[in-house]
Symmetry: C2
């Protein structure tokens, strides 16, 4: 995080740090918000997506329609997260495979050499 990033986030309304003159003061809540945004970024979410996700926690006044709508949003996000996790698991399996091939190649090489030595 650079200061520029912080300013950019404030400019976009993602955080609202207090002001002491021209300086920004960040409450622990601000820091948590930022960390949640970064977490979202790590899995490819946009800043807006992260904010939308974070805002689900906020105790906005809830009528029944809004609650059902929110549940729908939750389910949708849940589905993409599950897809992403599945993608990740596939990649991890692939990486293990590659690593195995590498080690096997290295192992064979060592074995070939030791074979020569043994003779």
């Amino acid at each position: 995080m650079t200061t520029r990033t912080i300013r950019f986030y404030e400019e976009k309304g993602l955080v609202h740090p207090l002001r002491q003159g021209q300086k920004r003061l960040f409450t622990p809540a601000d820091r948590v918000r930022i960390k949640l945004i970064l977490r979202g970024k790590r899995i490819g979410m946009t800043l807006q997506d992260s904010v939308a996700l974070i805002d689900m926690y906020e105790p906005q006044r809830n009528n029944s329609r809004q609650l059902h709508s929110l549940i729908g949003t939750v389910e949708a996000r849940r589905a993409t997260l599950l897809q992403q996790r599945s993608d990740i698991d596939d990649m991890l399996a692939g990486l293990d495979e590659v690593k195995g091939l590498c080690e096997q190649a290295l192992g064979k090489r060592r074995h070939r050499v030791s074979g020569i030595k043994r003779k």
Copy 2:
């Protein structure tokens, strides 16, 4: 995927479809490559990252230094994937929590109504 996307990928050297005149012909291998790229995109990888990941599978001639280097790359990618999966699990837990709160709010409402009726 739009045709524009395909052309863009070819322009960037991500795929190399055969040509029949001016038309592009995609082999099954091309399609797999593209699907792997899309999988990478789903978890926020750049196109270059995806290509780098895909290329790990290719049987490039392997000297010992390159193999060790590749293992290092694999380990690094593995670490970020694990981080991402952990992030996703955290978010899923958060979503369950939100959903629980929603259902609870809706349940309470229903209960309140039925309570009135029962009286």
